[in-house]
Symmetry: C2
Subunit: 352 residues, 2 copies
DNA sequence: TTGAAAGCGTTACCAC
DNA sequence: GTGGTAACGCTTTCAA
């Protein structure tokens, strides 16, 4: 037995010839469009036999061209997928996307060709949508976009051209209403504040990351609104717009300027813990701390934090996109996905 | 600014009309086939302008159909990718595949549509290549297959039909010479034995997993050959074909029946360590142990083990496949990739 | 230098 | 019920 030299895959025409029917009959038998034209069992059998004999399989390119549909969903990440996949950033999103794609019978294209291309070049592997005037995304019926260093101009153009896509994570693009699946950091931040208030805290502080992207904006807005709503005082640098942890402010905190602190990241929370420790203050006995992102439990306990339903968001993105494909008018509307609060061991009732 | 309602993407015909040239001229300008027919700068400019004005981008399906080429590489895993991606099984292969695909300007299709489809159904998510008589792999120019492929018939058929693919990992299919990228477990196992011998061990044992797949066969053959070559004695159950660890044999080992043991997996090595401990025997002081797979260092040290160059194998698979695409006659030949030995803390010179 | 025209493999419409 | 036939959008000869 030897592999057939790949000269030309058999086409419907070949099948038709062998079966002694017309090519269009073959098409109808294979596409199973029984409703339109019932084909006598006898003919069907002849066709199927020829198909088997020739090992015929439909040519997806031709089919795609004809039907303007591929059953292909694109996934465009603005950085390489797999180096990040382990950290939880892309990983769980993709998990959900894959699951849902499988359930709904779509294949997934990973747009890797749009990268910088060099081996050493950018470990970041920054990728562009439009490259030498051609938009590879068109290969797929529609795409899910995610990543950090999103090029807003590309998003705008993509949207303007009417290409069906959704973006995971909020991304503001002037003049374009990008359909987005957004973790609701804003409400989550507010709830965190509510929780602190419920524990009796009235003087609280905020520590922010240096990033100015929308997801952080959302946290800040939600926090600020809740502070306002509860009539709390916050004089922390983070609340005023400074990122990182200021030593002088921490001194004040150690002296009682705040009884609770909301922190944008685990990284900062850990640093905060250490710096408080050097000032003889313990979490949560002296100061309560809550984190505005997903925080794995570690040896010192579990941060009061958020669960970001990434897998679910991935699944939703697929459904949303398919909705857009089915009904091209549904090109609007973003979706807010709630984050649930994870109670930990770092928030306690106010002590004084 | 409002998103263009996606009626019909502009075609070359539209561009031609706007630019006042023929459609074929547009094609030649865009595909940049300057060699065949030099187009006057003036015309080129007119075309490009029309392209920009219309926002024209080539239709990949049509292009693919015409050129019989997609610049798409398929990745077919026989189980879901992402649930496993974290464990090192698929992950590092994909890392290499992605890297290399990016470097060579290919996109990647993940064949997810071929799964069972149900949500609850098979967490395993077993996937088939041929599903209702259609072979989705055809979507890609060629594919890389990996995973625990249960269905060898599919592999045989795929090969017979002449579809270009490579398989990562050795997989024996009667009557078909599947091009494979194979971690050289056989040599690696032999080297492990050599290493033990160099440390003075003459009575050694073997512990095998219950799986009977080729990768394990390779380890067993390599081991057996080395044992033979060195004229060693091995009376262990694993060497005779029994899987798992037999208590009665361990008793003998504790009494000195063997001074070194080669184990197929970390899982078994850990179990072995515990069971030796209950018999008052310590690794490596009393018994040396080496593992025939990649073993992460843990608290109790680093197993003497293998490094399986998975990322490199992923990269090689891409290159190999592209080689097959460039030259369809190169449909033969598998590739053996050496595994390097990782010295650890579990092999010592023989004590008696 | 440029344009006309022939496919590539499917699907879908329309006569028969 | 079935078989022509016209697209789908592109590339590539072949003439002009």
């Amino acid at each position: 037995m030897t592999a057939r030299r790949r000269e030309k895959a058999p086409s419907q025409a070949d099948v038709a010839r062998l079966a002694g029917v017309s090519q269009s009959a073959v098409s109808r038998v294979i596409s199973g469009n029984a409703a339109t034209a019932r084909i006598p069992e006898e003919t069907r059998q002849r066709v199927f036999e020829a198909v088997r004999e020739l090992g015929y399989v439909a040519n997806p390119a031709a089919r795609a061209m004809r039907k303007q549909r591929n059953n292909l969903l694109g996934v465009h990440t603005f950085e390489r997928v797999f180096p990040h996949a382990r950290e939880d950033f892309y990983f769980e999103f993709l998990l959900g996307i894959e699951e849902r794609a499988e359930e709904t019978g779509f294949d997934l294209v990973l747009f890797t060709s749009t990268g910088s291309g060099s081996r050493e070049g950018s470990e970041r592997g920054e990728r562009k949508i439009y490259k030498d005037g051609t938009n590879r995304l068109n290969l797929a019926d529609g795409s899910i976009l995610l990543g950090v260093s999103t090029d807003r101009g590309e998003l705008a153009r993509l949207w303007y051209e009417g290409y069906p896509f959704v973006h995971i994570g909020r991304r503001e693009v002037p003049g374009a209403e990008i359909p987005q699946i957004i973790p609701d950091y804003r409400s989550a931040s507010a709830s965190i504040v509510d929780r602190l208030v419920a524990h009796g805290h009235r003087r609280i502080g905020y520590v922010r990351e240096w990033l100015e992207m929308e997801p952080y904006e959302d946290r800040r807005i939600g926090y600020a609104e809740a502070v306002e709503r509860h009539g709390l005082t916050d004089t922390s640098p983070g609340f005023r717009g400074v990122h990182g942890i200021e030593a002088s402010w921490l001194d004040e905190v150690a002296r009682g300027a705040a009884t609770a602190i909301v922190v944008e990241s685990v990284r900062l929370a850990e640093s905060l813990r250490d710096q408080l420790a050097t000032r003889g203050r313990k979490i949560p006995d002296d100061i309560s701390v809550a984190v505005l992102e997903a925080a794995p439990a570690d040896l010192s306990g579990q941060w009061d934090s958020l669960e970001i339903p990434r897998t679910e968001i991935g699944r939703i993105a697929v459904d949303r996109l398919q909705g857009m494909l089915d009904d091209p008018d549904e090109r609007t509307g973003s979706l807010l996905v709630p984050c649930v609060l994870i109670p930990g061991t770092t928030v306690a009732a106010v002590s004084d």
